[in-house]
Amino acid sequence: MFRIINKSLKTGVVTGDHPDTEAPPELVSREAIEKAKPFRRSLTIREVDTGSCNACEMEMNALANPVYDVERFGVHIAASPRHADALVVTGPVTVNMERALKDVYKATADPKIVIALGDCAVNCGMFKGSYAVTGPVDQHIPVDVRIPGCPPRPVEILAVLAELRKDCPNSDQ
């Protein structure tokens, strides 16, 4: 017990111990911000991998570590699409995952937003044209926000999530 407390005290708070993003995200459209309005204070995300190389997943996972601690912004990761407000999709959509992606989209309650994370999800990246890849995410379901990068850094993902849910002048906070 003493050891644990000692360790925690020595470690201190690490949240926010990361370099900032350089460029402010210009990627979030007015419509997307408007659409995300109901989720400004709490956004529940379901992550769907449709054929990524798994680096994008790792960065999504990193959001939950103590350094980025995405929960402090009211963002939760849900275990089921039925509980989700937003789908984060990574990877090009493979022929084998196309059905699953559409099913997940249907299973997610309205209103919902779809975020395409990483170059693959945005434009198939390196896997463009392959016989086993049916196209980027927006070929199959409507996409509201696109986060390019291979993979995008966690700070960049955080910045987009913040931008998406930023205060509008006429909001009631």
Partner: protein, 530 residues
């Protein structure tokens, strides 16, 4: 390496009639034979007490349009000195059938199914002829690695359903999980048959993420496919790109400079470090010990940021190139790395103590998900999973690449094969990686970063390469095509070998322990599905 000679001679002596040709390919002895003799020779190699060959890789090549033949190659790692030995056979003209060796060698099971799916060649006598890579909705006759199959025409869709193995009986029911899972993990399907709590059977149905990577390689130039190899499995970017580069370097006759070799070692160990620390945290998390998970998550993040500072990529992408490494590190940077890793090692040791002082946690890890040495051997398991089950294999020691011939890593070895053993292997390797990085800093020689190729490879020339990535042995076979293109690139992530093995490790455990077992293996879906 002529030291495999005695093995070759033994096989030759036993099967004088069968062997048509003996030669060496970049130092690896290759025995060519008629296809009908393959099963007996493979069986001999596998079971002979002097040889005890374990099947490391099995691949096929479509030689068209140059020659109308398919070639099958079987790579064996011999037990004693971990020498390699290749068996090869040809299917000429319209021949489409080859005898399956799976009845003799369990490890060939998935490889042969894969070859059937991707080339349309039929392993006669294979006990399981269901599709593996091709999901049931792929139209009949689509075998993407045949040369006439267009790389860029998206597959059509037909009706069809995979037949899972069924257990019948009172009270037996099935629990389907996936392809989309509860956490942030990759897609894959698990089908548990349970009666009460214990798992009676587990069947994994993967290849949801099949992106056609091997076909995509064939569209590239030898020297330009490094970025694609980094994206086979993102968490192993360095491991995969390094294996790919080494194979191409052998083909082009490039002698990589000592400095580049040392730097590659450094990057590979950095990759091992952040993955292993992440895994230790994830194992603790699956026993609901959030504290250790948080600490490990913090340290992993620290390492990823270090990677980013050193190379501009958190996954160390873009460091390897054919001929060496793209980027150099200064003395100051290396000193900083050492300072940071020294602090991290202390930090991590404190967490280790906390973890192992927690009886409720270690209790969960012990005797969970046991993979016995026998089963591990049958499946040709290696890497972290193998070393936790008494399989004493580590390419860094057995077939040294990069700077490991000088640095001489110590190999962790445990025997129990449970989750705890797999965690133990990782813990030992974390300390060893940090030690190796210190050694790299101490011994880093001066020299150029990129070496130039000596010659263009002949079309049809090929080379094998192997790297001990953080999961285990990564193997690449690269064959040159016309005008510096790739004719064939076989990619083998260790996950492809370990997924069939996990089906055995899960038996008798309760379903709620499966996530923990799965985490302790931590296999790549992307690297498996290709």
């Amino acid at each position: 390496m002529s030291d495999a000679r005695p093995a070759v001679e033994q096989v030759q002596a036993a099967y004088t009639q069968a062997i048509a040709e003996v030669r060496t390919v970049h130092g690896i002895p290759l025995l060519r034979m008629r296809k009908q003799d393959l099963p007996t020779v493979a069986h001999f190699l596998h079971t002979n007490p002097n040889l005890r060959g374990s099947l490391s890789l099995l691949w096929a090549v479509d030689h068209r349009p140059r020659e109308a033949r398919y070639e099958l190659c079987y790579l064996f790692t011999l037990a004693k000195r971990k020498d390699w030995l290749l068996l090869a056979t040809d299917l000429h003209g319209e021949e489409r059938e080859f005898p399956s060796i799976t009845p003799h060698l369990h490890a060939a099971k998935w490889y042969e199914r894969e070859i059937r799916d991707l080339f349309g060649l039929i392993p006669v006598g294979h006990p399981d002829m269901r599709r593996l890579v091709r999901h049931e909705h792929w139209p009949k006759g689509s075998h993407p690695l045949k040369k006439e199959f267009p790389w860029d025409r998206v597959l059509g869709r037909v009706q069809g359903q995979y037949a899972f193995r069924k257990i019948h009986g009172e009270g037996v029911f099935e629990v389907p999980v996936g392809p989309i899972h509860a956490g942030i993990i990759e897609p894959g399907h698990f089908r548990f048959s349970v009666a009460g709590e214990p798992i009676m059977q587990l069947e994994v149905r993967h290849f949801w993420k099949h992106r056609g990577i091997e076909k995509l390689f064939e569209q590239q130039q030898l020297t330009e496919a490094v970025p694609l190899s980094e994206r086979v499995s993102g968490d192993t970017s360095v491991g995969h790109s390094m294996t790919y580069c080494q194979a191409v370097e052998t083909l082009l006759g490039v002698e990589v400079s000592p400095r580049a070799r040392y730097l590659r070692t450094l990057f590979l160990e950095l990759e091992r470090l952040h993955n292993h620390i992440g895994d230790v945290g994830a194992i603790c998390n699956d026993t609901a010990y959030a504290l250790a998970h948080a600490h490990c998550g913090r340290m992993k993040e620290q390492l990823m940021q270090l990677n980013d500072r050193l190379t501009g990529s958190r996954f160390l992408r873009g460091v390897n190139c054919v001929g060496g490494v793209v980027l150099d590190l200064s003395g100051i940077q290396l000193a900083q790395v050492e300072v940071e890793l020294n602090a991290l090692e202390q930090d991590f040791s404190a967490i280790e103590k906390i973890v192992f002082a927690n009886a409720s946690l270690t209790e969960r890890l012990e005797n969970t998900g046991i993979l016995t040495e026998g089963i591990a051997w049958d499946h040709a398991v290696m890497g972290v999973v193998g070393r936790a089950s008494g399989i004493d294999r580590d390419l860094r020691r057995d077939r040294p690449f990069a700077a490991y011939d000088v640095l001489q890593p110590n190999v962790a070895l445990y025997r129990y094969g449970d989750v705890r053993a797999r965690m133990r292997v990782r813990l030992d390797e974390i300390h060893e990686s940090i030690r190796l990085i210190r050694e790299v800093r101490r011994g880093l020689p001066l020299g150029r970063l990129v070496s130039q190729p000596m010659h263009q490879p002949q079309p049809g020339a090929w080379a094998l390469s192997a790297v001990e990535g953080w999961r285990g042995e990564i193997l690449y076979m690269v064959m040159a095509g016309e005008e510096g293109r790739i004719h064939r690139c076989k990619v083998r992530d260790p996950s492809f070998v370990h997924w069939p093995a996990i089906q055995w490790a899960a038996l008798g455990n309760i379903v709620p322990d499966f996530p923990l077992i799965n985490k302790s293996f931590n296999l790549s879906y992307a690297g498996n599905d290709l």
